[in-house]
Amino acid sequence: MTKSKPWISLSGIGLFAVLLLAVAPLVLTDHWLNNLGKYCCWAIAAVGIGLAWGRGGMLVMGQGVFFALGAYSMAMHLTLETAGDRIPGFMVLYDPLAPLPVFWEPFRSTGFTLLAIVLLPVLLASSLGYALFKRRVKGAYFAILTQALAVALATLISSTIRETGGDTGLSDFKYFFGFVLNDPANKRMVYLIAAALLIVCLFAVWQLYRSRFGELLVATRDAEERVRFLGYDPANVKLVAFVVSALMASIGGAMFVPIVGIITPAEIGAAASILMIAGVAFGGRASLFGPALGAIAVGWGQSSLGSTWPDGWTYILGLLFIVVILFLPNGLSSLPARFTAARRSPDRQPAPAIVAAELEEARP
């Protein structure tokens, strides 16, 4: 459906880029720009979820795992950068005499850290995806499995307090690859990197959606058996989408750390992973901009409504979620298309494709 009018999507990405990279730094205070940077990190992960879930039909409920790989890789590097030659303070606290855990050592290197942010999620997602998709694990089973992984990882981090900082997490980073994080100019730079990465991810999935792979992915989502009969292996198609979405979650996590200044297991566990999904569903999982916009909207709601109405905010989110699922199953971004469709030809609705996929998923 986007294929006919590429300029619409391209100018949309352009508009997004102008708003995030030029307008936002001019009109927002440092505090809100930093918050927007945080929402951009969630949005980067959301773009990946849109690819895997919206286009690929894989309900990835545990993106927190990949978010954590990026976030903790970055956090370990920044912790070591701050500590210099010394052992990080929190480790001294728990066991003053033990050395730095061996798996921390390589994260001293900038190159290794950047490589780890990219390669760790790719390796984990490929081996996990290969095992699952070749065995044709899908639907609820896939969702539960990914969710369980997120819970397991969060528990593991919480219980290895000396190695990972446990429930308290890693925080108090002074430098970001040599730049002093306390300097507002550098904070703006970190924001711009996150925003630019979001634009790049949007562009990348747009290209994927337009490609033959994109067609094949949607076909796999809607009728996996038919794709198989046509001679393609749906497992490979899904694997690629899953790996790309994992990579994006990891990039989002990596940028989250210098922007927010702290990473804890709570940000990567079950609740956090579900909140990522909620933003995507809210914005519109199968659309290009829906996931990113949804993630930014949920993030903004959490910051501002959560402030004025701490008790009420989660109820508002829940209510919105129900309303969207009931009346706009393709999210808020399907609103304009719905209006046009209703006006031009009342019998043509853009929704059925996904509903069919949903039914397919429901079958074991």
Binding site: L21, T29, D30, H31, W32, N34, K38, T82, A83, R86, I87, P88, G89, F90, V92, L93, P96, T155, S158, S159, I161, G166, D167, T168, G169, S171, D172, F173, K174, Y175, G178, F179, V180, N182, D183, P184, A185, N186, K187, R188, M189, L192, I193, A196, I199, V200, F203, Q207, V260, G261, I262, I263, T264, A266, E267, S303, G306, S307, P310, T314
Partner: protein, 431 residues
């Protein structure tokens, strides 16, 4: 031209744009550029002191797992602000407070601290409960040169020019508890705690001091903060046959522990527990099963001081009050009055002026626990040590008291059994 090369060209163009943006943006300070202080680049404070009110920020978890404890702290801060306002305010300015929700989520504590300091422009922030929340707030208040008043007993080994600690540090709660155990002739001690920074650090200190006192540690068990099942750990306690249990469990996990302990046939008569996180607020949830066990605090509702009756009375009359007073809420109450005393001694709300006033070591407050004095160097206060035994009304009978107020010593510098090299590593790591 083929589509692939077109795409490649677009990608290259995007990459070029991205790089330019970053190069243009990367004009901030680099490592090594900054002078010795860590907040050379902090923006000037935006606190408005021109009107007849002064803005303060209260940052407590009103939602999530810690809400049950932190709502009380939030409430008592509101009560303190009302009292101070009724008496004329601080430097003649009424307190206008901004309440924020930390939501039991440490990054949220960091975000809200930044909001309170840079958007609401508050003169000081009061709140936090878990050490994790304080550790999330610390870099942010240091970056913006703000003030944070932390009201809960904690693991010590920390100090910051931007934080005031009105709860006990280890030598005012953990060490008195160990002295009490030694005075009772305890030989075998078992450590049970929640798995996070406070219990881990507290137990590291306990083990060092126990070695000096000749107390043997016969076991050490941890359970995550949000887990309530202690059955298998209690079985280990039964097998280890200790004389006493040192309990550093926090939150509702205590209810599960005390129940499993009681169900295993262990009582205060056979193997008593000494806790550092069970107070008047928490005890009722554990009913008769906790009766007879001990707790180490500085303040108890049962303390007989000149100021305590009025504090209890005001609290009981305050809307939404729980009806009982406890140590952390008393410490939060102190924090607000301590800030008032600091500002009035400085004659200004300016952070550097407040810190300079603290340095004179003359700031005191007639607290419900007694007259406390602020140590201007480490930003902690002197406190009396008390051990209470839980009676059938879920109140505490005082079983032991320190002979004088204990001066705060967060880095345990006056204790020779605390290894100097560890202290040095910690101080260095804290930077």
């Amino acid at each position: 031209m083929s589509t692939t090369s077109k795409r490649l060209r677009t990608l290259t163009a995007m990459g070029a744009v991205g790089t330019t943006v970053l190069v243009l943006a990367g004009c901030g300070a680099r490592a090594g550029d900054e002078t010795a202080g860590s907040r050379t680049s902090a923006a000037p404070s935006c606190v408005d002191t021109s009107g007849d009110t002064i803005k303060l920020g209260f940052l407590n978890s009103l939602t999530g797992g810690m809400a049950i404890s932190e709502k009380t702290v939030s409430n008592v801060l509101h009560m303190g602000a009302d009292e101070i306002n009724a008496a004329g305010g601080i430097l003649g300015k009424k307190i206008a407070y901004v309440q924020e929700d930390g939501a039991t989520d440490w990054p949220t504590f960091a975000e809200k601290t930044e909001k309170l300091l840079t958007q609401d422009c508050v003169a000081a922030i009061f709140g936090g409960w878990t050490s994790s929340s304080r550790k999330a707030v610390k870099p942010v208040v240091e970056k913006h040169n703000g003030l944070f008043f932390y009201p809960v007993q904690y693991e010590g080994l920390e100090s910051s020019p931007n934080i005031y600690y009105t709860g006990a540090t280890t030598n005012q709660q953990i060490i008195p508890a160990m002295d009490f155990l030694a005075s009772r002739g305890v030989k075998k001690l078992f450590l049970a705690g929640s798995d996070y920074v406070f219990p881990r650090t507290a137990n590291a200190i306990i083990k060092l001091y126990a070695a000096k006192l000749g107390i043997e540690i016969v076991g050490e068990e941890y359970v995550p903060l949000d887990k309530d099942d202690w059955t298998s750990q209690v079985a280990k306690i039964v097998a280890a046959k200790p004389d006493f249990i040192f309990n550093t469990i926090n939150g509702s996990s205590n209810v599960g522990f005390i129940k499993a302990y009681y169900d295993a046939g262990l009582t205060a008569g056979t193997t008593p527990i000494i806790s550092v996180s069970i107070a008047e607020e928490e005890a009722p949830a554990m009913g008769h099963e906790v009766t007879g066990h001990y707790a180490s605090w500085n303040y108890f509702q049962s303390l007989k001081t000149d100021t305590n009756p009025k504090f209890i009375e005001s609290w009981k009359a305050y809307p939404n009050s729980s009806g009982v007073t406890s140590d952390p809420m008393e410490a939060a109450y102190i924090s607000l009055y301590l800030y008032k005393a600091l500002v009035e001694a400085a004659g200004s709300f300016d952070v550097d002026a407040v810190n300079a006033a603290a340095k004179k070591n003359t700031i005191t407050f007639d607290a419900p626990e007694g007259k406390v004095t602020l140590d201007g160097d480490n930003h902690h206060i002197s406190k009396p040590g008390h051990i209470g035994q839980i009676n059938s009304n879920n109140q505490f009978d005082i079983a032991w008291a320190s002979d004088k107020f204990i001066e705060p010593d967060p880095y345990l510098e006056s204790y020779d059994w605390f290894p100097a090299d560890i202290r040095k590593q910690l101080v260095d790591a804290a930077g």
